[in-house]
Amino acid sequence: MSAPFGKILVANRGEIACRVIRTCREMGIATVAVASEADLAAPHARLADRTVHLGPPPPEASYLRQDLIVAAALATGAEAVHPGYGFLAENAAFARACAEAGLVFIGPPPDVIASMGEKTAARRLMEAAGVPVVPGATLPPPGPGGSLDAAAVRAAADAVGYPLLVKAAFGGGGKGMRLVEAGQDPVAAAEAAVREATGAFGDGTVYLERCLLRPRHVEFQIFADRHGRVVHLGERECSIQRRHQKIVEETPCPALDDGLRRRMGEAAVAAARAAGYVGAGTVEFLLAPGGEFYFLEMNTRLQVEHPVTEWVTGLDLVRAQILVAAGEPLPWSDADLVPRGHALECRLYAEDPAHGFLPSLGRLLRYREPSGPGVRVDAGVAEGDEITRHYDPMIAKLSVHAEDRAAAIARLRAALRDYVVLGIATNAAYLDAVLAHPAFAAGETHTGFLQQHLSGEAAAGDAADETAALVAAALNEAVRGTAADAARRDAPAAPAAPAIGRFRLKGLD
């Protein structure tokens, strides 16, 4: 089969850009990377066949510059653009700009991105398609000064039930959100949310939603082609979240039996059909302890945690994205979609759990990835790289596959122990503390897990064996020669220049 495209521009950085470039390479497709000034020597820029320099490090001057990225694709002769996740991946205007320039955007149509990006619209669409949504009620727009009809708010709140959340229709990031417990005044909370939403989003429309207690976050990977076929590739449980950020993901979800998996999978496929979906997407649900599930939102991109699905299905989701974007049918039969074994992923962050998860910046003095049967690392950094303040602090994803959940946990913990990152602090010990927790081993996960089990002191994880570390450091000194010589040899005289001398940039001028 000839390659569906001759050349693809990857509009992203870090591990996801590297991951997309690798699949392109296997398919015989040439690649163009884009890079900010801070990333000219970054792994993704080195891996691509060509790299185009976008601009200064801040994302709004580089990776979010739609005009520069479209121009780079046209100038380098790319036929399609893969947006990765984050940055412009769920930006309908960018998808439109690509299409208008004659480029194939590797993702769903722009109007699908737009409709799924607006929460109340997505909710209405799902309700109409028979997909269960969290019980809730819309409120009429606030009057001048942000006042609401008190009697109407009370009636709507009583009908939804307590505890409930007041949420901003155009919101995100927890802004314009209020929790109302039974016995509290829903009117005061709703009016406070209106004020906050007006300030933050320029629109004070709010709605009410039942607040589920101890829910699991369970999402389904869906895939659709342009020939009317929509399938799901099973679920991922992503309940282990710190400040709404997933840090451990797995499949299968320990709480699903075959019946529930089938019902949720059918709902996910129905949601994708209702949205007119094309390509790879994710339908997120909240799963209550009693087994009731509710549509949360739909992500119109490849997810960070897609490797666990690739592990258990043995499929390459990026390859399928590219084929579908070229108009080909999904390359899988139903028999290909049968999962096997258990997969787990954890996200390695440049942050220090012992000091309030402060971002940890600096040079990677040593960086060695683990390997072995069933171990995969998706990284966007290399030894000697500088971790800067400009981008997301996730430096790598470590995932494993094993025959069952217990074996997968053991394999992930062993791989984490073998992961060597020196020069910056990481959350590795924290991740290990999650994996070592008896409640995690029992599969008793929910979105409040970390707050319940691993806050405060416990977040730092076990300390290093100080005696062993001292012996190692002393032996290293002894073999290296006198300590004073060593200091002279290794002390950085001046900040090292970025290593961009090794390759030539062939970008736009």
Binding site: P359, R366, R389, L422, A464, L470, A473, A474, L475, N476
Partner: protein, 171 residues
């Protein structure tokens, strides 16, 4: 070879001697059971109390970053700790410095303000996250070196904190 390290627990003394391929290591004067040593490219293999260990050691100035069994410890070699004294002085001296590079989002105090230990002083943004810089001790803000929007390098002075002028009576 006699080495002095600073660890999170305090000062530790390690002595290393080699004769005829046998290594003897003592910690704070106590001889340890260390055997089968190999050191290459910053990877140190040894047996401690009969248990085989493999550690990675990386050097940055006086710092020794050590990874052992998936845990990391940053030690400081005390004999070559020249920067250390300066840093120690900075801890108690008037300058409060940025501990990470970033952008000043908001100043929460002004010159002349009296602050208590732990009180948030400045909000910095790095890696898309906001971080509060808190007062390491109580005192009076003598001078503010930054303003909102300023981009800071690691170690840039934020503000000067001096002991509150109120004379302490008694003592």
């Amino acid at each position: 070879m006699h080495l002095e390290f600073r660890t999170p627990q305090g000062r530790r003394e390690v002595t290393v001697r080699e004769s005829g391929g046998v290594w003897r290591v003592s910690l704070d004067g106590r001889e340890l059971d260390v055997a089968a040593v190999s050191v290459r490219d910053g990877i140190v293999g040894f047996a401690l109390d009969g248990v085989q260990r493999r550690a990675h050691v990386a050097v940055r100035g006086a710092e020794r970053h050590v990874a052992v069994d998936g845990r990391v410890l940053v030690l400081r070699l005390a004999d070559e700790d020249r920067d250390d004294q300066a840093e120690e002085a900075a801890d108690t001296g008037p300058h409060l410095r940025a501990q990470l590079p970033g952008k000043v989002v908001k100043l929460l105090v002004a010159a002349g303000d009296v602050v208590t230990a732990g009180q948030p002083l400045v909000i910095l943004e790095a890696m898309k996250m906001e971080t509060e810089v808190a007062a390491p001790r109580g005192g009076r803000v003598a001078r503010v070196h930054v303003e909102a929007g300023r981009i800071l390098a690691m170690g840039d002075p934020l503000l000067d904190l001096e002991p509150d002028q109120e004379p302490v009576e008694g003592e």
